[in-house]
Symmetry: D2
Subunit: 410 residues, 4 copies
């Protein structure tokens, strides 16, 4: 039994298969992957890693299983899945996922091969646990998969509290102790027990408030877009032989070193290091953006970028079009027991619909460029993308100013 001190959950006791997994290189690698990627450029304290998050998820999973009276091999499987659930993340966590998914066809929770091979595979087999069953749990499959990756999973409970602790933004401070205690299985579904409509709402609300303040803060989005652009150039640079699968297995240090040393990416690298970021030329609400743009695939977006650059007479590297996918809200299908019946939270709570609407109103299309070209790029983007000019241009661009709107410079 090992005890690890954690800034969020205090002492975490770790035992059994999880203890043995702890020492594998694959899990240790998560120490070097920041939980929130470029968000630390907005919130300078947000340097926490996937490793400590993985320990936290394991800890909450143990608590939940204890309350659910699950032990033995079933518990061991969930323990392994909880501590391994982020093993598939690449450098900067989610930041590069669209890129690596496009090129490898995989998301970070597709980990069958990672669990089968290497030291993780050995540890699992030593404990007589089938790697594929653990991988299925991580993919959210089966009864206990819901606990690891589902609408009411311990992953979310940990990251909301942890991100609040490290950013200083209090909105994520949920009552994880209560959530974990109120989980129960009814008809094979993981649900919150009677009297917890509001508990479920609080989880939803925490995420809805953390989203614009942290995860989709404009500076986080800009820096992430710059990083993704740089990584794409790296993959395509003739001077390197990094492919997407290799990229996916790097840690943050590897990627930063690679970007620094490749001539095609050193400018982006320097800009990210010095926080000399692109600025918003366009920041358009969903109603001001033609539907075709929102649904455009990667190639089409690249083509738009080239047209905008051409129109504005700037280098194509100076234009980034950042299209978010349409808003969705996973937690709306969280299940709660109300008067003895299982109901979807979305049926029960008017908040779900409202948060969906809020999310819709927070959606933004961004076009970014170096500050000195913002005005030209903004006007070109309005033309090329067919946007409503008043709604889409950020006000300094509209008024020919060159100031910053960013609340937090850092």
């Amino acid at each position: 039994m090992t005890t690890i001190k954690d800034s969020v959950h205090d002492h975490i006791r770790i035992d059994g298969v999880a203890r043995d997994l702890l020492d594998t290189p694959e899990l240790q690698r998560l120490r070097r992957i920041r939980q929130l990627g470029t968000v630390s450029l907005v919130y300078p304290s947000a340097n926490h890693t996937r490793f400590e998050h993985s320990l936290g998820v394991y800890h909450l999973a143990c608590e939940a299983l204890e309350h659910l009276n699950v032990d033995g091999r079933q518990a061991e499987r969930v323990h392994a899945a909880a501590i391994l659930h982020d093993i598939g993340h690449g450098p900067f966590s989610h930041n590069l996922e669209p890129l690596t998914h496009r090129r490898t066809g995989r998301y970070h929770d597709d980990v069958h091969d990672l669990l089968t091979n290497g030291e993780i595979g050995s540890v699992l087999r030593d404990h007589d646990l089938a790697p594929d069953r653990i991988a299925d749990l991580i993919a959210g499959e089966g009864r206990f998969g819901q606990l690891v990756s589902g609408e009411l999973d311990v992953d979310r409970m940990d990251y909301l509290v942890r991100d609040a602790h490290h950013t200083g933004v209090p909105y994520g401070t949920i009552d994880h102790g209560r959530l974990v205690r109120e989980l129960t299985f009814t008809d094979g579904e993981l649900v919150l027990d009677e009297g917890n409509v509001q508990t479920a709402e609080s989880l939803l609300v925490a995420r809805a408030l953390m989203n614009p303040a942290v995860y989709s803060h404009s500076v986080a989005r800009i820096s992430k877009a710059m990083l993704r652009r740089a990584a794409e150039r790296l993959l395509d640079a003739p001077e390197t032989d990094v492919d997407a699968a290799t990229l996916q297995r790097m840690d943050d240090h590897d990627l930063i070193a690679a970007l620094r040393s490749c001539s095609a990416t050193e400018t982006f690298s320097r800009r990210l290091d010095q926080r000399d970021l692109y600025k918003r030329a366009v920041w358009a609400e969903i109603d001001d953006v033609p539907g075709g743009i929102i649904e455009a695939d990667h190639e089409a977006v690249r083509e738009f970028e080239r047209e905008i650059a051409d129109d504005a007479a700037v280098d194509p590297e100076c234009v980034i079009v950042d299209v978010q996918s349409r808003p969705s809200m996973k937690e709306s299908t969280s299940r709660v027991v109300v008067n003895g019946d299982i109901r979807r939270l979305g049926q029960q709570s008017p908040l779900v619909e409202a948060l969906r609407a809020a999310q819709y109103s927070q959606w933004r299309l961004g076009v970014y460029s170096p500050p000195e070209m913002r005005e030209r790029v903004g006007r070109a983007a309005v033309d090329v993308l067919g946007l409503d000019i008043e709604g889409a241009l950020v006000s300094e661009v509209r008024n020919g100013l060159d100031a910053t709107l960013d609340q937090f410079v850092d």
Copy 2:
């Protein structure tokens, strides 16, 4: 200059008129009035007082004024109003307010005479401050009244964080630092500056989540209703000569001592002391309650109680009908600057409507009685009040059980 250590805001520096007001008996009395009344019967750590809350409100007012660049006499007036804003509270804070208002015609923020007389009046006059202007600020009047008592007041910012700290319920943990910094005056209105729709929403959400979890928790409502019943009996007891104005000026100790020593109230007093509380016989949603009941005045409700008791053949003291007023949501008129225009939050944010709906769905009519009579009282109440029987009876009553639904015994 005095520095006071506070569990929420750490060091509070207090100066000028506020420093002199601190030593008045009227302000010191707030040390003996619990902020949340009977809520400590649900959350045992919630023993904080109106005194520390008043210091906190003063502290946040100072910070807000500094950001608004207000100083001099205007600032002094707001300082005085902030520290005095709760001076009119009676014992157990809001718990008895419906009773004292009915009998005196006053709410706790009607403090013109309290500020004119006694030591407070002297201190204010020594500082050349007109008591009536301070009282107006406390009543929310004028430009700066909005800061003391309005949709975006520092009162709410303090109590949400403080109640969260002392109950352990995290939902009230708002970002008060940001709120205070983002306040600004536009066209004479106190508004949140550009980029703060979400900040305003977070305040709204915090209150909406704290409400059912803390302020309107069923056990808090039951104990409050019992206390109010006891206080009413005290006022009417021939053996005492306490009137409503006297009651209003008591502190918690006075009231508890009075209830213990009066034969008409000693049973309630013992029950409250021993947490031997009534239980819910009826807990009905708004749609299951005839409109006439919701609008009924105090006398009509008392009459319903007598009828129910009669019907159930129990002592009238064993029936309490607890009717909440119709849901309302003050913060929906908070104002925020959006693209340079002042907008009401309710116009801008779909959350406002949703929270209003949530509040509506959380509304409950309660009928309470000693546990052993719940079933009889519940069925009688359904008849007398014309409720929908399936919706209104709490399940143990419906099923003839005698268990507790309360999440937190304490």
Copy 3:
């Protein structure tokens, strides 16, 4: 199983005999006894009660027992002792203990009769637990008595953290999670396991820092001395028939009400309510005080007070002589395992001796009086008690000023 939300330990699960004890009037009474008595006159947020502390001690005892692999009846006994350990406290906790001990011969941890009679006795017998064995544990007897009341008990671990949380003074923030995990039994002694010299020191240091900042803060001592004087007058007042045993069973409300309504105590009562406190006329270090004074018994001290009053020509009620007992340091006999041997912390750590010396240097004799008489009373006290005049008089008295030295007015 009941879950209670606590501001310090978050969720506390309570079960078995402890759950049944929770509803007894004797335990519920602790809700109305402040943990730190008059300390709230220094730290206004310090309104926490013996009730929540008792729950915290129970919680830590459960954790410790789990780590020690103790369950079954032995665990039940410790659970009962933990939750009941403060049942013998009178109003304002320790504040009146010297008085009640003098008159009843009992300290608060002498609870054999309280556990045998009343509802507590019934509950214990229903659970087949012998009240006397529980009372012995509370008195610190036997192997497990050390866990409830000893040098390394869970009582201290809870109160340090809880007092820090509620006062805002951080010094008490120990690592209770680690302490509880590192306890072990070796040769029947409760000791801290290998590698924990520093853990033991941290507990000692926390107490040594909290002591002058909180527990023995001069304003806390003054107000406590005033309360004790008032309570003594109450016991001796011909108009009341309160005796010391009755006093001991009161709660805070009872005592306050009694003091308010008795003519002999109403002045003290008003002063305490309005924080219109006596001030220090003398504040003398141990080396400036003749040994005979330090060892003087209660009657002798009362006689000194009368002489001082006489000498200063003031009413005897205007002089309070407050003699602390000689410094001692209980934790110095805490035991830790070092290289496989059990050692007393005092042998192992040079800090113990230093903290003893620090305690010695913090010891003060106080003489208190209303502010306007400080100078006269101070000079008279120097004469009567034979103090060193330069060392003993507080500087304002020495210099004829009438200012306050108190760091925190509240």
Copy 4:
């Protein structure tokens, strides 16, 4: 004016010269240097950086100056010094300082050239601030140098609280608000005002407790020694042309990338990445170590390592001898006002001497090697270094076991 959200101090407002310095590459570089170097291998949440610490130090300096009523150009100078005080740190903060000092003759606070050149120099000159005067403040010179780098500096106040927040070890939780408020200048000396002996002690104690638990935790020392060895090999590797001055200007990513790609260091690099660390073969108290060893210079220690390796017949890279310098305690000369006189804390408080003794008793000489060679290396080291064999060998080595003593595996 910019506002930055910090996990420790909440909102930090940054203005004037500090605001302009914020955007320099030199300051942004501190985002990529971990505050505690390899301590994150013991406490996985300890990933905070010199950048956020620098902001915190700036914040506390602003508060202190406000209390000291210092503004204008003097304040601007201190602001610049506070935010720049760590600009000279190399990768992994203090971890490599002995190495870089040996080779460059400089410590991290020798920053005259860094402040004169580059963008920092431009910003300072734009604000009419002489770089040399700022560099002097950072070196602790002059009246205000004590505030930036002295016995009572804001550097220490920030790092203790920040390290506590991020490691989860509570001992560093000092009352920085009080410390900053109680600073005053007397006779040109920065001292703590009357009534603060204990405040000064609390700072001392916090550091004394954090030291063994965090800064000198054995696993932190081992990993730091391995990193230092690797960096030394890097500097000496023929295949690279990194010199000490270059090393000093790297960030963490640069160093890690360099260690990974150099054949002479890739083994250390892999071990650090995978937390496959050396273990203690020897862990000797100061009294068991000949004085000559403690005073030995770098070359002599390297020679001992070679001899030990030879004696144990292992590769020289498998032996690290880690000699701490003799204990010292800077804060003992902190000054406090006692009865109107300035006294050194060491004169006033018996704790100082005790903490010095505790530090002495915590001093350890370590000899580290891969786990499988511990026993051989340990016995050889005892011989070569002339240690007392019983006292020096860690118990597993003495008993031929191969277990771990580490409290926290991570």
